[in-house]
Amino acid sequence: MKNNRFVYTILTPIFICMIVFTLLPILIGLGISLFDYNPLAVSSPFIGLENFKKLASDGVFLIALKNTVIFVLVTVSLNIVLALLIAQAISSMRSNRTRSFTRMIFFMPIVAPLAASSLVWKVMYANKYGLFNNILGHLGLPAHNWLGDPAWLLPSIILFTLWADIGYNIIIFSAGMDGIPHDFIEAAAIDGAGPVRRFFFITLPLLGRTTAFIVTMTLISHFQMFAQFEIMGRSAGSPGGGGPNNVGMVLTLEIYKEAFKYKNMGYASAIALVLFLIILIVTVISQRISRSDWRY
């Protein structure tokens, strides 16, 4: 169909909004990152690539970079593997009722704000009065300072994030598995393939497109995780979040802290651009790798 007047009257405001709040900010961010921009300061001089040079020697940034990469890689891979396993387990359940009940349970944490569930888990992780240490104590195992010990902080946040976020992927995988025609599986079963082989040689390849979608979406969303790092890493000794001595810092939190706590908006913009580049590269790579031609 054609009707330019209609099309452009609708699209103009839509694109203005999109440009102002999504695309323009990238350019502005790029611009700001070249200035020593502090809104409180009297002057904000142009400093070229100084902000980017500073990154290489900024210990906190390097920790944040390392943590972000580790967090995303570990959480996303665990998330996908577990989601696949659980989805497979769900699809092997016999009654429809248990199936939808199990799905519902796993999806429940998704509807709770991360900020609220982080607070609850923070109390569960507490050293003296927390749930986890109590269970360990009853089992006769040594307690851990989950959120205070640098070795345990990231694993603790990863465990929480898995709990909070895995539901989406379970549902999507589960739907994907339900969509696989029964003939395929039955034919394989008749040919003598066991459940493990069926999973790896039939289900998994047929879920190729779904997996590609899930991997990309999960990667993008995990690079942006913020609330749990701010809330769980926040304590009297590290009021801004990020854990003791910044051991739990991630890029999103550092951008926020630099920009809104220390007012180094120029420097924070440089970090933001680094994060943007990483997300861009990782997404493109993940799309390339997981692009699959399996169709049914």
Partner: protein, 424 residues
């Protein structure tokens, strides 16, 4: 090609545009409505006893000045600093009068966002205030805020009275006695403590314990306006503090890491023996833990490390006026009203704080109403201003350094050098 050029141009021009825009949009706050009533916006942090005493004071003020109305907006502490900064930075909205922590004011003063203290009020204060309480409000000889309290995080400590009574122990008179008492009575299993002998680990206690130890052993960490911790005394005292956790095991660093619980909470829960903290913690304990001063706990003088009775204190809560406000004069009227000795005394009694003015601190009415303030009042003259720095940065850097030493076995020499760098 052309499009790329335009994009680049835009990218460079935009921050400039924004900058000029921000500076121009300095709007005026507060409205002078029909030339009669002036409404002042007053931002404070949220803490029940504070807000109650504020309301009382405001009611009294509005009675005396019927043409001025004060609207209070109280914020949770965690967000407060952020909100103050953001509002000063966005230069729209915001308040006429800000309650400010001296440590942050230090960074605002040079930016011109605050109106200087009127001369008359200033002269009155300069003679009558302790040194630490004005320190952070000064910039280039001018003052941009006034103190409402003397923030002492050192000089006195909370003690677990029932424990001392039961075990027939007396409160320590010397530093060494205190440490040996703490060591003997600490009970822990791994990282879990059942009794913390001397819990000096918190965002405030740790830095002030260390800085005061340096001062009271005759040293200093300030060279002019520069901080320097690479000195024998600083390293020796730091080594002691590290040993208290690693060797003596009188507490652990939970208070710096991953816990919302602070050292004085442990004392109120009967899980700590001695805790250096300001007297503001006493009403918190009485209200939130439902225990009584003089029964479940006591407040006593803390022995000094070394020979001199010197310690460090920072500029605590104060008030400042937005220089963009249309009603700075009315705002200063209110602040002068708060600082009148008779009002200040009541305010400090209600909040359980140490008064910033010498005349008020030794007012018999105050001493009588806040009996537990005595250990601190006795040593007020030994306090010196912590130094020209955003104290949040100082405290965070010291705490990070300490956590780093304990957790990663970083050598003390390297740690203090890094600290020097962090706070430059």
């Amino acid at each position: 090609m052309k499009r790329k050029l335009i994009c680049l141009l835009l990218a460079f021009m935009l921050p400039g545009l924004l900058l000029t825009g921000c500076q121009k949009s300095q709007t005026t706050k507060g409205k002078v409505s029909d030339g009669e009533t002036i409404t002042l916006k007053y931002w404070t942090h949220l803490e029940t006893p504070w807000n109650v005493s504020n309301d009382k004071l405001i009611a009294a003020f509005e009675e005396e000045y019927p043409d001025i109305k004060i609207e209070v907006e109280a914020y949770p502490y965690d967000d407060f600093e952020q909100k103050v900064q953001t509002s000063l930075l966005s230069k729209s909205g915001g308040a006429d009068i800000y309650e400010l922590w001296g440590g942050w004011a230090y960074e605002f003063a040079p930016t011109g966002v605050f109106s200087p203290v009127p001369d008359e009020l200033l002269n009155d204060l300069l003679d009558d205030c302790y040194e630490p309480v004005l320190g952070a409000f000064e910039h280039d000889g001018a003052y941009y805020g006034v103190p409402m309290e003397f923030n002492a995080e050192y000089g006195g400590m909370l003690v677990n009275k029932p424990y001392f009574d039961e075990h027939n122990l007396s409160y320590p008179d010397t530093w060494d006695e205190m440490i040996s008492l703490a060591t003997k009575n600490s009970v822990s299993k791994g990282d879990i403590f059942d009794m913390r002998g001397f819990d000096f680990i918190s965002f405030d206690s740790l830095p002030y314990t260390w800085l005061s130890m340096i001062l009271s052993s005759g040293g200093t960490y300030l060279e002019g306006d520069t901080f320097n911790f690479d000195t024998p005394i600083a390293k020796e005292t730091l080594k002691k503090l590290v040993d208290y956790v690693k060797v003596n095991k009188v507490t652990n660093i939970e208070g710096l890491s991953g816990s919302d619980i602070e050292n004085f909470h442990w004392l109120f829960l009967d899980q700590a023996l001695m805790v250096p903290r300001g007297i503001w913690s006493i009403p918190v304990g009485e209200e939130e833990f439902d225990i009584t001063y003089g029964e479940e706990f006591d407040y006593v003088p803390m022995p000094f490390y070394g020979t001199e009775k010197r310690w460090a204190a920072e500029t605590g809560w104060g008030l400042a006026v937005n220089s963009g406000s249309a009603n700075t004069e009315a705002a200063w009227k209110f602040i002068s009203f708060c600082l009148r000795p008779e009002n200040l005394v009541q305010l400090n009694i209600d909040r359980g704080m140490i008064p910033p003015r010498k005349s008020v601190a030794h007012d018999p009415a105050y001493v009588k109403a806040v009996p537990y303030s005595k250990p601190i009042l006795d040593v007020l003259d030994g306090a010196s201003f912590v130094g020209p720095i955003n104290t949040d940065v100082l405290k965070e850097s010291i705490c990070n350094m300490y956590a780093d030493i304990i957790q990663n076995d970083t050598p003390i020499d390297a740690a203090v050098l890094k600290l020097n760098q962090d706070i430059q």
